[in-house]
């Protein structure tokens, strides 16, 4: 049982990092990023490839963070020119293109077979202890990331991001270089997602393109909306609730619900979709009751 809880906690914390990044984009800056999984994927693959090539894991993690941050630059450039619904479609398309490249450039990524044997740090330690250590490190990283994002958000820089979220043109008329601020926000959030990707790769020990479907982005969006867009605590809280639900439903079969794996998975997605709809229609301000991001334009 402990092993299971540790595993769930690790995945939850990884998603928590993703949520912190997306919350910076959407909750604080008002950027519609539906391609978040792309940064996750790039981070995971970068870290996996480098470490499989012999680099130390720390280097892999740093490279993952950096590459994901760089990948945010074209999104930043595009986001200034596109309205919300178009940006949503383009960013989904972007993440699918990244997945397509990962799927097809077999010489680099081994395509659908994926990369196996991605190293786990401290694998000299026995199983159990190893996972606990991983969990401890990850918890530390998430805590640090949380503090970092909080600091950014409460700073005058963060105040400008919120102003941009409220009204870009007004912010621009008051001297703010909106494009630059958006790009910085995007790069930071993407970098955190890349770091999450690295942790994911080194925990699961293999990476395949199928792990990086748009569904992951949608999960993170639910977590962020659920927690109340704009609140970092909310983002983590929302992730926790989402994880409990997703993992909890795995047990339905054990409790005698007569459904096979495929149907159970489908049912879970139906509930996820319903959650998105209900949240947006009835409780867009999320559980912590932050501002309603969907009012107005």
């Amino acid at each position: 049982m402990t092993a299971y809880l540790v595993a769930m906690a690790i995945i939850a914390l990884i998603y928590g990092l993703l949520a912190l990044g997306l919350n910076l984009h959407w909750g604080h800056t008002g950027l519609i990023n539906f391609g978040h999984v792309a940064f996750f994927a790039l981070g995971a693959y970068a870290s996996a490839l480098l470490t499989l090539g012999g680099a130390p894991i720390a280097v892999g993690a740093i490279a993952a963070t950096g590459l994901a941050g760089l990948a945010a630059l074209p999104i930043g450039w595009v986001s200034v020119r596109l309205r919300s619904d178009y940006l949503a479609i383009v960013t989904i398309g972007f993440s699918e293109m990244v997945r397509l490249v990962l799927l097809n450039e077999v010489w680099l990524t081994r395509g659908p077979m994926g990369l196996l044997g991605v190293p786990r740090p401290f694998d000299a330690l026995p199983t159990g202890a190893n996972e606990l250590l991983y969990l401890a490190i990850l918890t530390g990283v998430v805590a640090l990331s949380f503090l970092l994002v909080e600091r950014v958000v409460r700073s005058p820089f963060g105040r400008v991001l919120r102003a941009i979220r409220e009204d870009e043109d007004a912010a621009s008329s008051l001297g703010k270089n909106v494009v630059q601020f958006k790009i910085k926000s995007l790069v930071l959030g993407a970098a955190i997602a890349g770091l999450a990707g690295s942790f994911y790769a080194h925990y699961i020990n293999y990476v395949v393109p199928d792990q990086f479907l748009p569904l992951v982005t949608f999960y993170v969006w639910i977590a962020v909306i659920l927690g109340g867009s704009g609140s970092n605590v909310g983002a983590l809280l929302g992730t926790g609730i989402l994880m409990v639900f997703l993992e909890g439903t795995r047990f339905l079969k054990d409790w005698g619900v007569p459904l096979d794996e495929v149907r159970l998975a489908a049912l879970r997605f139906v509930v996820v979709g319903l959650a998105l709809v209900l949240l947006v229609v009835y409780r867009p301000q999320g559980l912590l009751g932050q501002r309603d991001v969907t009012s107005g334009r």
Binding site: P156, A163, D169, S172, L174, G175, R291
Partner: protein, 250 residues
């Protein structure tokens, strides 16, 4: 201080501005009036960098600024307010002003981490100045309220406050008196005169004739995208062409 030379701007087939030329002299309050659709707000949008003109030039203090984006113009001292107020709704009134300060070191991503002391200092200075402005605008009681909860007239004052926070040299006000009750309007008039006496140049679009006549030192009348008449308030008021433009030819 501001020169507009032959600016033309078309939307579809319609010329909102048609070889429009005027001049805003430093130190005075210049009024801009004209019937609906005359192109006044469009002119402001072109001057403030929100729109690119199809033809013509804009110069600010001798320098050509045509096509420069709004955020750069703000740094040069040219700021425009919006006709319909665009306050940062979910930010507090105080935050609305604080965020308007130009070149706050805390807005640099690296500076937050590397020079926290400097950031704190700048923040303290900004807050002092913001509170001063709030008091001048009689909004100090509302400092911590979300801007969305302000009344229409208060939002207009906040809009002015934000622009003032940037320490502009030329302020373009788009209908500052619209929707403002007469008492507040009189205070606003006094505030604008005070600011002008302290050296701030204004160009003001307004439909409220009494207000604009009382406020302006010089007036331009726009109609159909170009300047119809210009002069002192007294002269313009009696200009037959102006009366016709507003009331239609007999």
């Amino acid at each position: 201080m501001l020169e507009v030379h032959g600016v033309t701007k078309r939307f579809g087939g319609v010329a909102a501005l048609d070889r429009c030329s005027l001049e805003v002299r430093a130190g005075i309050i210049t009024g801009l009036i004209g019937p609906n659709g005359a192109g006044k707000s469009t002119l402001f949008a072109v001057v403030a960098g929100q729109l690119n003109p199809d033809q013509g030039d804009v110069r600010f203090e001798g320098r050509r600024i045509t096509g420069e984006p709004p955020h750069r113009l703000a740094h040069q001292g040219l700021v425009k307010t919006f006709q319909v107020t665009r306050e940062f709704a979910h930010l507090s009134v105080l935050d609305n002003l604080l965020v308007s300060m130009l070149d706050h070191p805390g807005e640099g991503f690296g500076t937050i981490w590397l020079r926290p002391g400097r950031v704190r200092q700048a923040e303290a200075k900004a807050e002092a100045r913001a509170r001063q402005l709030l008091s001048f605008l009689t909004l100090d009681r509302l400092a911590d309220e979300p801007a969305a909860t302000l009344s229409g007239g208060q939002k207009k004052l906040l809009e002015l406050g934000r622009a003032l926070m940037t320490e502009p040299r030329l302020l373009l006000l788009d209908e500052p008196f619209a929707g403002v009750n007469p008492t507040l309007g009189r205070s606003l008039m006094r505030m604008l005169r005070d600011l002008n006496e302290q050296g701030l140049t204004f160009c003001v679009i307004e439909h409220n004739m009494d207000a604009i006549m009382a406020l302006s030192d010089y007036i331009y009348v726009l109609a159909e995208g170009r300047v119809l008449a210009a002069g002192l308030p007294g002269e313009v008021r009696q200009d037959r062409r102006v009366l016709e433009a507003y009331l239609g030819s007999p």
